[in-house]
Every structure is written in C-alpha cells, then in structure tokens.
C-alpha cells in the first residue's frame, strides 16, 4: 500500500504506519512525500492508494473521499536566544512582507530580521498565507526553504531568523512565539484559542476497502489518534469531542 502527499503529514503517518504494520504483519505500508498537490493528483490517477493533504481540497478535487485525521497548528518560530516572546498578527505580516526589518522594532536587539518562508506551492505556505498573511504578499526578500526541517534548521542556527513550521515539529532548539498573546500549545489549539491550524486529510479515490479501509480505521482508532496526539497534533476525534 502506498501513501503519498504532503510532506507535513508524512512524518506523522510514518509513525502510525509503523505501529499498523506491527499489528498487521501481512501489509507493507510505504509512505512517500511529494506535497499536498502531488498527493491529490496521485490519488486521482491511482499511482498511490491513499493520498495525504495538509490543505482543504479545491473544488476541482472534491471527487475524492476525504477523512480528517488531525489538525496541525502553524507556529512562528525564532532562535531560542531571541528575547521576543509575543507578536501580533500585524507584526508577523510586517515581518514577512519586509515592512518590519529590525528586531528592535519588536522589542528585540538591534539586528536585522532574517525571515525564512516556504517555496511556492507548499501546503504550509498556502496555510500561512491564508491564515496569517491575508491579502498581504510574502516578500521576495525572504529566504526560501523547501521543508519544515530545512526552515527549522536555519532558525535553530541563525540568531536573527524567523520562520513558520508545524507546531508538532518545534523542538528545544527554537522557540515558538505567542501570537496576539496566545502560545501555540496543545491546550490552546484544542480550545481554538490559537486559531492558526490546518487540517490533515487522508484521501481515497473510491469507497474505502481492504487494507486502505483498515489503515484509515486504525488512524482514527484511539490508538492511532493517541500516536498523532503525542506527536503534537490535535487528533480529529478530540476536536469532535470538544466542539
């Protein structure tokens, strides 16, 4: 069974797939990246069995069967030594549109800001634009990296850097910033106090059957959801229960 798509979903699905394969020795689950759009296309033309997407489907793609497995918050991260703790949405927009260029303007030290964004077409970038940037365009002056990991690596090693990645992937080498005073913690994400979250979807071409069906059922089972939850995501079942 091949699962392909969003590189944001990939590491989490890999974890779930490992457990799934332990329980079902006969099934081999192969998890590939490629991006949300590639995942949608691969599902539509049948080159993968299950697609993974970190954005909602466009009208032209709605023929696919969609399963929400979790929500993922997007965190704005800075170097761990950066004194800035809290930014407003407008300030984040200002940084990424290159209108705010020095940390001094944000209560930090007198150093140039080095914003790092994702490449055109990335699901994380699309969500960031939709949820935070709004009508404001991301500036051409931002550095561009092509994965959550690459952005995190630059921020971890660049004292003046600022970027955005999945909340679940933030580690102790960087610091997630509070937006409008609210930290991207799990509790704040579940209660929707922290509003910047996107859906993680699994996609099927037809009705679920066979191994695909049992895999999706496993992802939504208490065990699968527990794996996703412990990795920093908000499990789908938890959202349903809380709303």
């Amino acid at each position: 069974m091949i699962i392909a798509g969003s590189t944001s979903v990939q590491p989490f699905i890999e974890k779930v797939a490992e457990h799934f394969m332990e329980k079902n020795p006969g099934v081999v689950v192969n998890v590939q990246g490629g991006g949300s759009t590639a995942g949608v296309q691969a599902t539509m033309n049948g080159t993968c069995d299950i697609g993974a997407s970190s954005r909602n489907l466009k009208p032209a793609e709605r023929a696919l069967k969609v399963t929400l497995i979790a929500l993922d918050g997007i965190a704005v991260i800075v170097h761990r030594d950066n004194p800035v703790e809290d930014l407003t949405v407008e300030q984040v927009r200002g940084i990424f549109s290159n209108n705010i260029t020095n940390w001094k303007e944000l209560g930090g030290s007198d150093k140039d800001i080095i914003p790092v964004t994702r490449e055109e077409g990335s699901g994380t970038r699309a969500s960031f634009e939709e949820m935070i940037m709004g009508e404001t365009a991301i500036s051409d002056a931002c550095l561009v990296q092509d994965s959550n990991g690459a952005v995190r690596e630059i921020i971890a090693t660049t004292p003046q850097g600022v970027g955005y990645i999945s909340v679940g992937l933030v580690d102790e080498r960087e610091k997630a910033i509070a937006i409008n005073g609210i930290k991207p913690t799990l509790a704040n994400l579940i209660t929707e106090k922290y509003r910047f979250a996107r859906p993680f979807l699994l996609l099927l071409r037809g009705e679920p059957a066979g191994a695909c069906q049992s895999f999706i059922e496993y992802v939504l089972s208490p065990e699968g959801q527990e794996i996703l939850g412990s990795s920093g995501l908000i499990p789908a079942t938890q959202i349903a229960a809380d709303r």
Partner: protein, 277 residues
C-alpha cells in the same frame, strides 16, 4: 563475423545515448515552451515570480544564476589556473602524481556534502564576519568555485603539458626567465585548452543545484550585494517541482528549457575553441 556483431552492438549503444539526449531535449521543450507563449515573453522575462497566481517572471533567477556563476569563476579561475601552472611547470613528478589525483578527487565529493560544509562552516562565518543572512551570493560563489576547481585544473594542466618542450627551451635560450616563459609563451600557447576548461567549469556552476539550494538562501529578490541571498534557475526547479501542478509545473520546465539553452551555448563555445587547435 564476431567483429561485425561487436560493431553493431556498439553502434546501438552509441545511438541510444544520442536517442536519450534527443528524447530529453524534446520532452523539456515540449513541456516548457508552450507556457512561454501562453504567458507571453513579457511576463516570462519579468521580475514577478508567483506561478500559482500567473506570474511567471524568471528574470531574477536568470540574473541569480549569472551572478553565482560569475562569482564561482572569480574564485575558480585564479586558484584553478595557479594550481595547473604549479602542477605542470613547477612541481616534480612525485608531487604531480600525488596532487593531481587529489584535486580530481574533489570532483567525486557529492554536492550535498559541499552544501553541508557550506551551511555548517561558511554561512555562519560570513554572517558573523560580514553581516547579512550568511546565505548569500558569496557563500554560493566560494563553494561553487571549489567545486569547479578539478575541471579547470585538470584541463588546463593537460593543455600546458601539451605545449611542446621546444617552446620552453627556445624561450630559455633567448634569456627569458621561467615566469616570463609561462606568462608570455606557455599560457598563450595553451590558451584554447584553458578557456575550454573554464567554460566546462562554468557549465558545471550554472547547472549545480543541491549545494546552491543549501547555501544561497533562495530569496527571489535580485541581490543588492554579494552578501544578499540569491535564487538560481536550478534551485527554483528543485525547490518547487514537488508541489507544482499545471502551469506552475510547465513554468519549471520553461526554466529547464532556458537552462538547457545556456548549457548548449556554453558547450558549443567550448567545442569551437578546442576545435581550432
């Protein structure tokens, strides 16, 4: 009989190389060129790259590729030429026998390793010493300059060795020093080989992708100085192909077509120059 079979088999293999080149060429242009007409040349050569919102301008990347390539040559030519002159004219046989393979070994190091060294050592060094983000034209130029050294050194070295010894003897006989002999006689005599080496190195610098993505920062804005970040044509293709669909994907193939033309022109020039000899 056996000879005939061997000949035919080799012919088929040789033709398959040409066939695959033809197929690759056809595929790249077939995928990319329609977009250039659809978007219009004005859009294609503009500065606005927003391929998901019908902005297909690749001018900043063409300029980026050129800047990085010129930077690489600025680093690679002096060091490469100096290395070749030392190897060919000043070093003894044992030194040549050790140094030349070592330099050629540089070509065997995977580009991702160069990029990694760039991220870990060069980028922080540039950031802390000169300021700016560190991910810059300068970082990419230095790393690419090192990467094209083996090409420049070994081709220039061969060209210098190919200059007949009678030239050197004649020069010494009229009282020229070793340095005068090299500058006024050997370098001009080996010129076509040296230029070919430089152009082949240039081709490698234009086409290099992985190392550049890792250390150039990939900002779309045209760099104002060598300490600013830069985006090349190859980086754009590699960064965005994973997510690209529709016109965006076609635009990346159009970038590929432009790169292909640049490389073809460079190679034709290289062949012309060496052919004159």
């Amino acid at each position: 009989m056996k000879d005939k079979i061997a000949e035919k088999v080799l012919l088929v293999i040789a033709l398959s190389a040409i066939l695959s080149l033809a197929l690759i060429t056809f595929f790249i242009f077939q995928q990319g060129v329609p977009l250039i007409f659809k978007a219009g040349l004005g859009n294609f050569l503009s500065l606005k790259w927003a391929p998901t919102r019908a902005g297909f301008g690749i001018l900043s990347m063409i300029i980026g590729s050129l800047m990085v390539t010129i930077g690489a040559l600025a680093v690679g030519i002096p060091f490469g030429l100096a290395g070749a002159i030392f190897l060919a004219e000043f070093s003894s046989k044992p030194i040549q026998k050790t140094l030349k393979p070592v330099i050629e070994l540089l070509a065997g190091i995977p580009s991702v390793v160069y990029g990694f060294i760039g991220i870990v050592i060069l980028v922080p060094f540039i950031r802390n010493t000169f300021g700016g983000p560190g991910f810059s034209v300068l970082a990419a130029s230095i790393i690419l300059g090192i990467m094209i050294l083996p090409t420049i050194v070994s081709i220039s070295y061969d060209a210098l060795l190919a200059v007949p010894n009678t030239y050197r003897e004649g020069s010494y006989a009229v009282g020229a020093t070793k340095w005068q002999t090299i500058v006024m006689l050997l370098l001009p005599a080996a010129r076509s080989g040296i230029v070919a080496g430089i152009i082949l190195g240039m081709g490698r610098a234009v086409g290099e992708t992985m190392a550049v993505i890792m250390i150039a920062g990939n900002a779309l804005k045209i760099p104002g100085s060598i300490l600013d970040s830069v985006r090349t044509l190859t980086s754009t293709i590699a960064l965005e192909l994973g997510y690209a669909a529709g016109d965006h994907r076609a635009a990346l193939f159009a970038c590929g077509s432009v790169l292909f033309l640049i490389i073809i022109v460079l190679n034709i020039v290289a062949i012309r120059i060496t052919g004159k000899e």
